[in-house]
Amino acid sequence: MKRNVFIALMVIVCFVLQSTLFQIISFGDIAPNLLIIITAAFGFMCGKKCGLIVGFASGLLYDIFFGNVLCFHALIYMYIGYINGNFKQIFYKDDIKLPLVLITASDLVFNITYYVLLFMLRGRFHFIHYLKSIMIPEVVYTIVATLILYPFIRFVTGKLEQGEKRSEDSFA
C-alpha cells in the first residue's frame, strides 16, 4: 500500500519537475526524461505489471497536458515499462550497471520510436540531425539524472520493502 502511494507520488513529482524546473534549467533546450527513468526503474525493480502501470500512468499524464491524442505516450511508455519488467530476474539491488544500461536503452528506444512515428512519417528524414541534436543530448542528461534519481528510488523502495516484511513477520 505504502509502496503504491510512493509510486503514484513519484510519477506526479517527476512529471511536474520535468515540465517545469527541468525545462527552465535545461542545457541547450534539452531536458532529461525523468518519466522514462521511473518507468524503467519500477519495471525492472518490481516486475512487468508494475512497469506497465507506471508507464501507462506517466504516459497518460503526458498526454493530458501535451499530447494531441490521448494514450499515445501512454502506449509507448507502457510497452517500455513492460519490457523492462522482463529484466527483473537478472536485477540485483547493488548493481548500478544494469539499471544504467536499461534506462539508457529505454530512452533511446523511446526517442527513436517517437521520431519514427511523429517525424519520419511526416517526411522529416534527417535522422542524423535529430540523433545528434536531440536524442544523444537527452540520453546523456537522462543518464546524469539517473545517477541522482535512481539511488533515491532504490533507497525508498528498499525501506518500504523492509517495513512490509517486518509487518508480515509480526503478523505471522
Binding site: I12, L21, K49, F65, F66, F72, Y82, R124
Partner: protein, 287 residues
C-alpha cells in the same frame, strides 16, 4: 496466506494486451471526437497545475540566480560594446528600410498598428513547458474561468507566440509557432506578398523558423523585411508581428521563394505572455 494466493489476478501478458486495446481505443476516440477532453483536463487542472505553478516559480528564481553568476564583468563589457554596434546597425538598417516603403505601405502599417492596440489582452504566466524535447507547447495559468477560449492568439512583447489549442478551467495549452506541427499564414509587410510560416525543429537550433510559398516573382522582398500574420488566416488575427526575414532563396519553380525568418519573440525565455481575447472569427464579423 492461502486466502491471499487465491486472489484473482490477471497475468501481465493479458493485462498488456487489454491495456493496449484500451489505449488504441482511446486514441481513436480522442482523434475523432473530444469526448474525454473536459473531465480529464479538469482532473489535471485540479491535481497537477497547482504543483506546476509553484515549482516553475522556484525554477525561475533558480535560473535567474544562475544567470547572474554567469554574467561576468568582461562578458558584460563586451556585450555592451556589441549591443551598441547592433543598435547602431539596426537603426541604420531600419532607416534605410523605412525609406523604401512606399506611402501606401506606411499607411497600411499605421492602420495595422492601430488595430493592434485595439485588441483586448490579458496577461498570463507560463507554468509548464512540453516535457519532452520534440515539440514546443506550453501551459499557461489562465483558463476558461478567465475567459480564454480555444484558438485565441498569444503574444509576448511585440511578437506572435502561438495560439491556444486546449482549455481547462484554470489552465490552457498553447502551441508555439516554432512547434514542428505549426503553420501560420503570413504576409510580408513591405510588399504584401503572402507566405506560409512553418515551425521546424531542425532549424530551431539556429534560432530561425522556415517560411515557404512566398510569391515573389519580382524579387522585391529583402532580408530584414517584417513578416506579420495575414488577413487570410482563419485562426490568427491580422497584422501581428511574427519576425524578420533572415535569408531568402528562390524556389526551383522560379515563382515562389522560401527561406528563414528570425522570430520576434525569444522563445527560450518565455515567462509571461499576453492572450488576445478577440477571436479571429468574431473579428472578421465585426468588420
Amino acid at each position: 496466506m492461502r486466502r491471499k494466493r487465491q486472489k484473482f489476478t490477471i497475468p501481465s501478458k493479458y493485462l498488456l494486451l487489454i491495456m493496449t486495446v484500451i489505449c488504441v481505443l482511446f486514441m481513436a476516440i480522442t482523434f475523432f471526437t473530444d469526448f474525454f477532453a473536459a473531465p480529464l483536463s479538469n482532473f489535471a487542472g485540479a491535481v497537477v497545475v497547482p504543483f506546476q505553478t509553484g515549482v516553475s516559480r522556484v525554477g525561475e528564481w533558480m535560473s535567474n540566480r544562475s544567470d547572474e553568476l554567469k554574467t561576468l564583468k568582461d562578458v558584460l563589457a563586451e556585450n555592451e560594446r556589441l549591443q551598441e554596434q547592433v543598435d547602431a546597425l539596426t537603426i541604420e538598417n531600419n532607416s534605410l528600410q523605412q525609406e523604401k516603403y512606399e506611402l501606401n505601405n506606411l499607411r497600411q502599417l499605421y492602420k495595422l498598428d492601430q488595430e493592434y492596440s485595439q485588441f483586448d489582452k490579458i496577461g498570463a504566466r507560463v507554468v509548464a513547458k512540453e516535457a519532452g524535447n520534440w515539440f514546443h507547447t506550453f501551459v499557461i495559468d489562465k483558463g476558461s474561468a478567465d475567459g480564454i477560449q480555444v484558438d485565441m492568439n498569444v503574444m509576448a512583447g511585440s511578437g506572435l507566440v502561438g495560439r491556444v489549442t486546449e482549455v481547462g478551467n484554470d489552465w490552457a495549452k498553447v502551441i508555439a509557432i516554432i512547434d514542428d506541427n505549426s503553420n501560420v499564414s503570413a504576409t510580408v509587410l513591405s510588399t504584401e506578398d503572402s507566405c506560409m510560416v512553418q515551425g521546424n525543429l531542425e532549424m530551431m537550433d539556429r534560432g530561425v523558423i522556415t517560411f515557404s510559398k512566398l510569391i515573389n516573382s519580382d524579387m522585391q522582398v529583402k532580408e530584414g523585411d517584417k513578416v506579420v500574420t495575414s488577413h487570410i488566416s482563419t485562426k490568427y488575427l491580422p497584422g501581428i508581428l511574427i519576425g524578420y526575414i533572415s535569408t531568402i532563396d528562390a524556389d526551383a519553380n522560379n515563382l515562389t521563394s522560401s527561406g528563414y525568418l528570425i522570430p520576434a519573440v525569444d522563445f527560450s525565455h518565455l515567462e509571461e505572455v499576453l492572450v488576445i481575447t478577440d477571436l479571429k472569427k468574431d473579428y472578421s464579423e465585426k468588420e
